[in-house]
């Protein structure tokens, strides 16, 4: 009999028989391999909507909830509208203001009537709060990926350091002192600093579920604040911020 290993949880197919035995066959050491999802993917126009599998299972799950509820057909898996006149979620003020699906959920549950500019959206009244949080989680994550791709390389004219300082004081100073930014500004070349400001490496790891991580409210708040900053950034605001950091060197 194989011992139960503390380091590797056994995922068990269970035989449940009245007055019976819980038995486990094998373990989950193999990868995704020939899973049913791989062989019977959700496809649209010949494209497997599930791929690529996201490194963070929480994000992959959120994507699957988004796809399973049909959002991708109109709004696009990655928020790029594939066809028709659905709302471009990358430009939605509701998405920009939403936190944890509180606003997105209202729209989902109520539906949207047809207008001259956009097609209607049915009401998703049966979504649970968790469904909505998951679904909104994918929208925010995907929006952040779009924004990062758009903003990671500077474009347009040089920024205004005074505007950048104003933005820093308003958006960043509650967590970051100007003094702490001096060190970062000196340490990294401007292009690298820009990437690190938009997507801090320490906040963009696969979510940990150690008890220490689960109770780290400061990191959770930082991740959410940086995500929101990225979602609402544009070339001008980032250029201004970088120009301000340039004066700190």
């Amino acid at each position: 009999m194989k011992p139960i290993c503390a380091a590797a949880m056994a995922l068990s197919l269970v035989a449940m028989v009245p007055g019976g035995i819980y038995a486990q066959a094998g373990s989950s050491s193999q990868g995704l391999g020939n899973s049913t999802y791989d062989t019977k993917p959700r496809t649209h126009g010949g494209v497997n909507l599930l791929l690529p599998i996201e490194p963070d299972p929480m994000i992959q799950h959120a994507k699957e909830v988004y796809i399973d509820n049909g959002c991708a057909y109109c709004h696009g898996v990655d928020l790029v509208v594939p066809q028709g006149d659905a709302v471009d979620l990358r430009k939605s003020k509701i998405v920009a203001l939403d936190v944890d699906g509180t606003l997105i959920g209202q729209i989902l549950r109520g539906g949207v009537s047809q207008t001259a500019r956009v097609s209607p959206m049915p009401a998703y009244r049966d979504l649970s709060n968790k469904n909505i949080q998951d679904l909104a989680g994918w929208i925010h994550y995907s929006l952040q990926q779009n924004r990062f791709a758009e903003l990671k390389v500077a474009a347009g004219g040089p920024g205004d350091p005074a505007e950048g300082k104003t933005n820093f004081d308003k958006t960043c100073a509650s967590c970051h002192s100007a003094a702490s930014m001096v060190d970062l500004a000196k340490k990294y070349p401007t292009a690298e600093l820009r990437v690190r400001v938009l997507k801090p490496a320490s906040l963009n790891t696969v979510q940990s579920f150690t008890l220490a991580a689960l109770h780290d409210d400061a990191k959770k708040a930082a991740k959410q604040a940086h995500g929101k900053f990225l979602e609402n950034a544009n070339q001008t605001s980032v250029n201004n911020l970088m120009a301000y950091f340039g004066t700190l060197k």
Binding site: C5, A10, S12, L13, N129, F209
Partner: protein
């Protein structure tokens, strides 16, 4: 359904008689069959009631031990569980308390408070946390594991909606499956996860369980 109290008493007596007359050699044969198939027996599930005799409790643990199981599990209420206190310790095993979603019965295991009453009965009582029912009873599985992971032997992994909601395919309900599996992995807890299939589908049960397994693999990748 349709069974009278008399029917139930008769069934309990028949079960009791069977237990007392069945030699442990039968369990040795069963274990040999499982060994040959490469299947590890984690726990032995038995129904118990307030009318069971003490010698039956010993028999359950002896049978479990013969099967190579780590413990015995079942669906007792608080009263029945109280009768079992002392037996897991005597046999060096755990007893797993399994919950449903019945919040109206003060004797039933359903929410965190009821589990905590059960834990107080014996240090060898462990949770056999049914995530589906716990969620349907508006419990928070993540908070439960946070506090009681050291008293949890295994999870019944499935998905249901809150507020006594219905069962769903994995990932469609309100049960935090990924979160709990990741908690076990990231914290290296010796908690076994058992997949349950109880939602409606037009697919075969083999296909559906494969989908469940794939979902969990992605969670743990």
């Amino acid at each position: 359904l349709g069974r009278t109290d008399e029917d139930q008493r008769a069934a309990a007596q028949a079960l009791s008689k069977w237990r007392m007359e069945t030699p442990l050699s039968l369990y040795k044969q069963i274990k040999a069959e499982f060994d040959a198939a490469g299947i590890t027996i984690f726990a032995y599930w038995t129904g118990i009631s307030t009318v069971d005799k003490p010698e039956e409790f010993d028999y359950m643990f002896e049978a479990a031990k013969t099967l190579g199981a780590k413990g015995v599990t079942g669906n007792p209420g608080l009263q029945s569980a109280a009768q079992l206190a002392g037996y897991p310790e005597k046999h060096g095993m755990f007893y797993g308390l399994h919950n449903h979603d019945n919040l109206s019965d003060p004797d039933a295991f359903s929410n965190q408070e009821s589990f905590e009453k059960g834990f107080a009965l014996s240090p060898s009582f462990m949770a056999e946390l049914d995530m589906r029912h716990f969620t349907a009873a508006n419990g928070d599985c993540v908070a439960f594991l946070d506090k009681w992971h050291h008293r949890t032997a295994c999870l019944h992994v499935g998905d249901r909606r809150r507020d006594n909601g219905h069962s769903e395919p994995f990932g469609r309900g309100d049960t935090p499956i990924i979160e709990c599996l990741r908690m076990i992995k990231d914290n290296k807890w010796p908690i076994v996860a058992l997949l349950e299939f109880e939602h409606g589908t037009t697919r075969s049960s083999v296909d559906e369980v494969q989908i469940e397994l794939d979902y969990c693999k992605r969670a743990l990748a």
